[in-house]
């Protein structure tokens, strides 16, 4: 009940924020980027790739850009912006003096960022349909037939989201732990760059680098390993452990 009240308060804080606008902006950028790239016939990946359902190829291409580039930067920015709302003006001395358990504040913020990430991914999936419809009009070579394989696209979108959970909980802790916006953003950018190299190493055949938290979502779109369910479960469990550790640290910390 208290968590719901805190969540309700957190939702109001998001009003008029860049963080909320980012929910729409981030997937929109990827959708438009893919539309632009795919419409450049005959150089488009969609035209080169003669095998398979065009919807699956478009979804894979879109989720690939989302998973490797946009999403790590997106969660970096969102966690930093959400934490920044309370770091600025030192809101903590006012919030933590309220009769609510500290853990509810930590968990409510985490849930807000998770909800925004899920909403953005859902919008991205809708954007795939938009791109398919637009490409259908723009180029005759790419035939986007029916039915649309929604189940597979939604499943992959959900898996990308799920595999980002571990990185998100770490980034959430970093953003709340250090007041400086630069620390949160810096940590996220470094992790994203390391994630690029991890993905590249994974594509060269190295097994372990692909399990770097920021590289995990690429497993879905690049490799579709048979053990993806196990990776999701382990990633989820580690994410919960990171959230619990971060929450414990938050509850113990003194307000200056």
């Amino acid at each position: 009940m208290t968590l719901l009240r805190v969540l309700h308060a957190e939702a109001l804080k998001m009003k008029r924020t860049i963080a909320l606008k980012m929910v729409v902006l981030a997937p929109a950028v990827v959708v438009l980027l893919i539309l632009f790239a795919a419409s450049q016939a005959p150089y488009s990946t969609l035209n080169f790739n003669a095998i398979g359902n065009k919807w699956t190829v478009l979804a894979s291409l879109t989720l690939r850009v989302w998973a490797i580039l946009m999403m790590p930067l997106y969660i970096t920015l969102e966690t930093a912006l959400v934490a920044g709302l309370d770091h600025s003006e030192n809101q903590w001395k006012s919030l933590l003096a309220r009769p609510v358990p500290r853990w509810t504040l930590y968990v409510a913020k985490l849930l807000v960022v998770m909800a925004m990430t899920a909403a953005s991914t859902l919008l991205l999936v809708c954007g795939i349909l938009f791109d398919g419809a637009a490409l259908r009009r723009l180029q005759t070579e790419a035939v986007f037939g029916f039915p649309v394989p929604w189940a597979a696209i939604l499943r992959d979108g959900a898996r990308v989201c799920g595999l980002m959970f571990l990185a998100l909980t770490i980034q959430h802790w970093v953003s709340l732990r250090w007041r400086s916006f630069a620390v949160a953003i810096g940590a996220g950018i470094v992790a994203t760059v390391v994630g690029f190299f991890a993905v590249a190493a994974g594509q060269q055949g190295d097994t372990w680098p692909q399990y770097f938290p920021w590289a995990l979502p690429m497993l879905v779109v690049a490799r579709q390993p048979h053990n993806i369910e196990a990776v999701l479960a382990i990633g989820g469990a580690l994410g919960l452990a990171a959230a619990a550790a971060g929450c414990l640290d938050f509850c113990r910390r003194e307000v200056q």
Partner: protein, 299 residues
């Protein structure tokens, strides 16, 4: 039995090697306006943070309304409103929305927002974004936040910071009237004696984390009433003679301030100094202001 809103017993707090609060004990009576005075860095904000549970004391106990803070923090915080230093506001939200965030946290009715806004006279601008508020309006909104839900205890840390004279007067009036109107106990921290002196019924003075005085305003006025002032040709020798006699004396340039210790003192001091070879050019019993007393305790 009346519960004491705040009782601090032998509390210590250090940051690394810096001692912020050293064995502090306070007792805040119910429905009082308790002025908590001290220069910057004396340990006032640290004490307030510990009372709110934002920081933990290294040693000692804090109890609120007769219950230990460490065990019942959430239940006790329900009875407290606070404004610590500058108000914590979301600049991208309106005044009303800022209060709505806290109303949701407290689980209060919507009516509580209007009550708080009325108390600080901000109803007319409640729909305006806080980033467009003047610093005085922000301070009043911070006070409204603290008043949400009619708390029994209000902790205000430097509440008149950044206010113009009219704003200071408004806050002062509000603070003075709160115990009578709402039955609230106000714990008011400040480094300005003049600000607290006019509204407080009880006062505590701290310096370097230690309590220097605690009592009613009348007690403070009694203690700070008189001082014997001497001006002499050899102030150093005069000071040595006086302290050698066991008197409490402080030297300020060629002036020596002596705490009174009985009847007919001026004459005795004069005789003793002249007998000791010191020429006394001025000797009088002066009324020392509260400001002087405060400075004497805290410097």
């Amino acid at each position: 039995m009346m519960e004491t809103p705040i009782r601090v017993e032998e509390v210590w707090k250090s940051y690394g090697t810096t001692k912020a609060v050293c064995g502090l004990s306070l007792s805040v009576p119910r429905q009082s306006v308790y002025g908590f005075l001290g220069p910057n860095g004396a340990g006032k904000s640290t004490t307030i943070r510990m009372v709110l549970g934002l920081q933990r004391p290294d040693r000692g106990t804090i109890s609120l309304f007769g219950r230990p803070l460490s065990g019942e923090r959430i239940a006790l915080l329900r009875r407290i409103g606070s404004l610590v230093e500058s108000p914590s506001l979301y600049l991208h939200l309106t005044g009303r929305e800022n209060l709505e965030v806290h109303r949701r946290l407290l689980g209060l009715s919507k009516r509580a927002i209007d009550d708080a806004l009325e108390a600080v006279d901000l109803i007319a601008v409640a729909g305006r974004l806080v980033r467009n508020y003047s610093s005085g309006m922000k301070q009043r909104l911070g006070l409204a936040q603290a008043l949400l839900g009619n708390p029994e205890l209000l902790l205000l840390d430097e509440p008149t910071n950044g206010l113009d004279p009219a704003g200071i007067h408004e806050v002062r009036t509000l603070v003075r009237d709160l115990p009578g109107l709402r039955g609230v106990t106000v714990f008011l921290s400040s480094h300005l004696l003049a600000e607290v002196e006019q509204v407080a019924t009880h006062l505590a003075i701290i310096s370097e984390g230690q309590l220097k005085f605690e009592g009613t305003r009348e007690e403070l006025q009694t203690r700070s009433k008189q001082m014997i002032v001497v001006e002499a040709d050899q102030p150093e020798r005069a000071h040595a003679l006086l302290t050698g006699m066991g008197r409490t004396a402080t030297r300020e340039g060629n002036r020596i301030l002596i705490a009174p210790d009985g009847e007919c003192e001026a004459a005795q001091i004069n005789a003793m100094l002249v007998g000791g070879g010191v020429a006394v050019s001025y000797l009088a019993t002066e009324r020392v202001t509260l400001e002087d007393f405060f400075l004497d305790l805290t410097q």
